[in-house]
Symmetry: C2
Subunit: 667 residues, 2 copies
């Protein structure tokens, strides 16, 4: 008996766990950042399990949209009633875990209240405004959201259409949506739940446009919750995922708000309409880096969950009889299955450790910024943008590989894969569309390449490789002797090469066409450079983290980290073969390295995923149940189907019954 092995468990999964060559608890502590963190996780888990308020009546996938929003609201109110259960300062750790246990992946109408409304009040109000609004928001006497994106406008803020025109005669702003494309669109909780919003609108005063500015706006009556006159809003309908949130639309019809509704920490409009520009540009980058560290950890957690479900199910599922008469084997024994699932597990680790590293960099950055040192900022901001992009895409792909590896049952919502995918893949789009992000990173890389060429480069640790003079050929001799430093060196070579390849392409194009066209014509290659920049960082972070691990854990994890690196190299072998940097036999060696890693991971795979410390409550997957008794659970889960409420559904009387009866009468 242990946390993971219990009486009545599926015998195959127990056998797997008994084969573990390492201590799962020690591995869990290492993964999550120490014994204390692990202890707190279990305390939070026990608390959530013990509180009946947090239970779903039935799995959410059986609920209608209205029921999902209602159930999510019920739970989030209870959850925020009980924030004293966690360390509020540690959202990256305890906060995220608490929320994931209580709220799951369907989310809830208060997400934006906490993620955007509160922080914007904290960051953008003047002192008087802060005193007025912050206590209300914290006490939840109002519910707010953040309304920026419009139906016709996303990334490019300068083109938002909503206007806030100052009327000095009444000292009010008039909010207006001049077109349909000006409708605010997407904000979470906007449709039905929020009675306030930060609205970003083009500020007009004295006949001049001063660009987009934030305003705090009451949308609904506090008592009746009816929309205010001049405000039209509602839910934007069902989405690929996150249907527990009432993402909304919002249109203003000459809606008047007081002058003091404009958030005035930086810019101001005086009573007579005089505009005062901000003294210095807002340093919002730091917060963005932090939000991304959260996102990357969340993505890693989703991919880890997918890999856990696929690995456990693959240990339980038996199919195919390679030797007739010997019985069917666990599908985890098939190399093709390992090749589908284990690289996803490796990625989940890589992303998790990168998230930790980015969080630490953020803390360092914050520290340096207080000393007025902004040197690290652009490099870390670029890195975090790139990571967000690469991680969210690889996560989405990885989840689908895990789902497909579970065959037909992966297609059922019982597997939780459809929900995990719908939830995680949103990360490719929100907080900066992935390709837009990669091109932002590329702007930084182009600058770095330029400085390197000029010999003026002063690159810090993350981009240092760009100005290094590397080897002309890989030093790999055999996979057994292929060291961390060599692996990093080879990835640095390819990343550097792609950076300069894209840079040169851009420069060459600039000689023939307009700068904007040159950029556009080079953009696919520039995006590729950004991806290599990020991959290099991910490989380096992962390998170095494992190199420093305790010996008993390192001897397992080294295969996982190397699988991550070898998989990247072998699936992009073209980049390594170019100009003879690697020889085909070296690529073959690395491919064999992939297969060796798969074979090494196979015996410990179940215990490795156990080490992620997911509770069944968090996974919410019938296929990924700890006890491995998936078939009984599938049959039980299906009983919740709306269609199973009665033996004969009304459709029979209405359509099928008459059809068949009619046909029988004619035969």
């Amino acid at each position: 008996m242990s946390r993971w092995i219990q009486n009545g468990d599926n015998v195959d999964i127990t056998k797997e766990r008994k084969n573990a060559t390492f201590n799962t608890e020690r591995m869990s502590a290492w993964i999550h950042g120490g014994d204390e963190v692990l202890k707190r996780r279990r305390e939070i888990l026990d608390y959530v399990k013990s509180n009946p308020d947090f239970k779903d009546p039935i799995p959410v996938e059986f609920l209608s949209r209205e029921e999902r929003v209602s159930n999510g609201t019920r739970k989030i109110v209870k959850m925020t009633d009980n924030t004293d259960q966690i360390d509020g300062a540690d959202f990256f750790g305890e906060g995220m875990y608490f929320q994931s246990l209580v709220m799951g992946r369907d989310l809830h109408p208060l997400s934006l209240h906490y993620i955007m409304f509160l922080p914007t009040l904290q960051g953008q109000t003047d002192d008087e405004q802060l005193d007025e609004w912050l206590p209300k928001a914290i006490a939840r006497s109002i519910v707010g959201t953040y309304a920026q994106t419009e139906l016709g406008h996303g990334t490019n803020l300068s083109k938002l259409e909503t206007t806030a025109t100052y009327d000095p005669s009444t000292q009010e702003f008039v909010l207006h949506s001049p077109t349909i494309t000006a409708a605010k669109w997407w904000p979470g909780g906007l449709g039905k739940s929020s009675n306030h919003a930060i609205v970003v609108a083009q500020l007009y005063t004295k006949g001049q446009c001063k660009g987009p500015h934030p305003f705090i706006v009451q949308l609904r009556d506090l008592e009746t919750h009816k929309p205010m006159k001049g405000v039209r809003l509602g839910d934007i309908g069902p989405k690929l995922g996150i249907n527990g949130s009432d993402n909304g639309f919002l249109l203003f019809d000459k809606y008047r708000i007081p002058r003091k509704a404009m958030l005035m920490r930086y810019s101001k409009v005086q009573p007579d309409g005089t505009y005062i520009a901000p003294a210095h540009s807002k340093l919002g980058y730091g917060t963005m880096v932090f939000v991304r560290s959260i996102m990357i950890k969340d993505q890693a957690t989703q991919l880890g969950a997918a890999a856990t479900i696929a690995t456990r199910y693959s240990a339980v599922r038996r199919q195919g009889e390679p030797v007739v008469g010997n019985g069917e084997i666990q599908i985890l024994d098939y190399q093709t299955q390992q090749y589908r699932v284990f690289p996803q597990l490796a990625r989940a680790f890589a992303f998790l450790f990168a998230a930790y590293e980015i969080r630490d960099l953020y803390l360092r950055l914050t520290e340096e910024l207080t000393h007025g040192n902004t040197e690290l900022l652009p490099e870390i901001h670029a890195l975090s943008s790139g990571l967000k992009s690469v991680v969210s895409w690889d996560t989405a792909q990885g989840i689908e590989q895990c789902r497909l590896s579970c065959g037909g049952h992966g297609y059922s919502q019982a597997s939780a894969f459809p929900e995990i995918y719908g939830y995680a893949v949103g990360g490719c789009t929100y907080e900066g569309e992935n390709l837009v992000m990669l091109l932002q990173v590329a702007r930084y890389l182009v600058k770095a390449a330029e400085e390197t060429r000029k010999g003026t480069s002063n690159l810090a640790e993350i981009c240092g490789y760009i100005s290094k003079t590397g080897r002309r050929t890989s030093s790999l001799t055999s996979i057994a002797n292929y060291t961390t430093d060599q692996i990093i060196e080879d990835l640095e070579h390819v990343a550097r090469k792609q950076v300069f390849h894209a840079y040169d392409k851009l420069k060459k194009a600039q000689q023939h066409v307009k700068p904007e066209d040159a950029w556009n014509q080079s953009s696919v290659e520039l995006a590729k450079a950004s991806r290599w920049h990020v991959r290099l960082y991910l490989v380096k972070t992962f390998l170095k983290k494992v190199d420093k691990a305790p010996e008993d854990l390192k001897k397992v994890m080294i295969h996982v980290a190397r699988l991550y690196a070898f998989d990247i190299i072998s699936s992009s072998s073209g980049n390594f073969l170019e100009e003879g940097y690697m020889r085909p036999d070296q690529i073959t060696e690395i491919k064999e390295g992939v297969y060796e890693c798969l074979a090494k991971i196979r015996p410990v795979a179940v215990s490795l995923v156990d080490s992620w410390d997911y509770d069944d409550l968090e996974l919410k997957s019938v296929l990924g149940k700890r006890d491995g008794n998936v078939y009984e659970a599938l049959l039980q889960w299906a009983q919740n189907s709306q269609l199973n409420k009665s033996d004969v559904i009304p459709t029979f009387e209405k359509y099928l019954g008459p059809m068949m009866k009619d046909a029988r009468s004619k035969l």
Copy 2:
């Protein structure tokens, strides 16, 4: 005014259409197989549009599961009332189109009745059984499904657990599910709609197991529709897609059926229990090839729809202002956007033409089989298995790329992408799990490699390349002069190389380990060989089809076909660089070829997708509307949300209202 350009359309999309350098109608006819086919498409479309029975009350994404099943049943009954509207013999053409217009992607409870129940009756009954059952099934006086897959058993039929034990004393079979894993699981329409099923069960007679056999079984009472005593069944719950179908589970508790319920065309059980084995093995391969040609066409149609939506939306959406003051540009102008979308369009074409080719091969095959010539069979069967696998995976990936290219709006169900993806990606799993399929193909390729090595190879057209002696280096000089034959030659080289690489790996492993382990250890490389085999076929088919196109269409389509080929080569450049078959400058040339193709396709992209001839009724996408007026339509679509039925939803009174009131009282 024309089919595609109408008054009131979005001006950007009209501008795009006016720029077409070819005749869209001519292109449509070429794509769909001639003027007559196109004419019939429009007749079917007009008929469906004119019939109010086929209308959905609101878009299905707003319906609950029960409503979806009910709505789907209503429509499929009406649809099958009116099959005289189409040429019933042409399911590949008219049938699929009719069904897609009426039923959309949510499907319905009668799918398996038509796809599996009827054909199995036709193929597996003796004459007496055929006379008894076929008229009933055709008249729809009974509704049937096909129950083979079990909760614990998929591909490996020999391990099905459901038993059919013959009792000579009553001349009955006793159907029984000895375990939970024996539950039939997944059959469409099984849960609530069907009153009959073909059940595949292990036949026991005289104490001996004779393996899996099909039985026709009544599941529900014809009048009351209640489950028969001894039969337990129901719906298996929501899935990633296709929720208009009541996929079901089924358990038997010693349920007795008459001896004549066993389908006896091939095997028989005599009244005394004597088993008569089939005279010759069933040639089911032909039908499988046909089903796959249908699947591949369906996948192509879904990917084409996704590319159409993304292309149209990209023409309408303006975002980013590369030159400040010049206004935002159409996102279709970004190279990164083109790089995301156009290769998907190219794939859709490649897959569609492959589907035509496979259908033609199937007809040739059927013809040859009637003359007793089975030579083509294994090669075509292997090809169709491989195509199913590669096409369904590339389609799924491509749909997601198209969705992501539409930014936030792609995440909304208004885009139709979530439904398209959920529907199409099922194809990776059903009709043979993709990796299992690829390994089946590999068994054929290994045989071909073996014969080539032995010099006994007598390979027909599809696999002929395996025994060719190819060039040692690519003959590519410049992308402008890179001919169809050269492209095919280069792909043949890589495909052949991978076949022999996998073969050699297998042979080497066989010297050291047991045959089953050797196969397993080589399986990832074997699957890769299968993929190259299929990709080569797809490129060849596409290029040759375009080479034979009328000149005015060819001059457009050549860029699409070459994009397809160049994209494959450049994204797997490692395979081409190995052993110096290509030089890095040749790869660079091909990459530039990709960008050139994108630029050539850009001006005609909207007309190219128009040529696929999708009606808005078929696309069911707000983003992909013909008229390009997407923003108004999004706002209108959202009004259907269940949450918008009232201004204030009950959740406010229950949870948010009390929470805020309580907080206000304390502030």
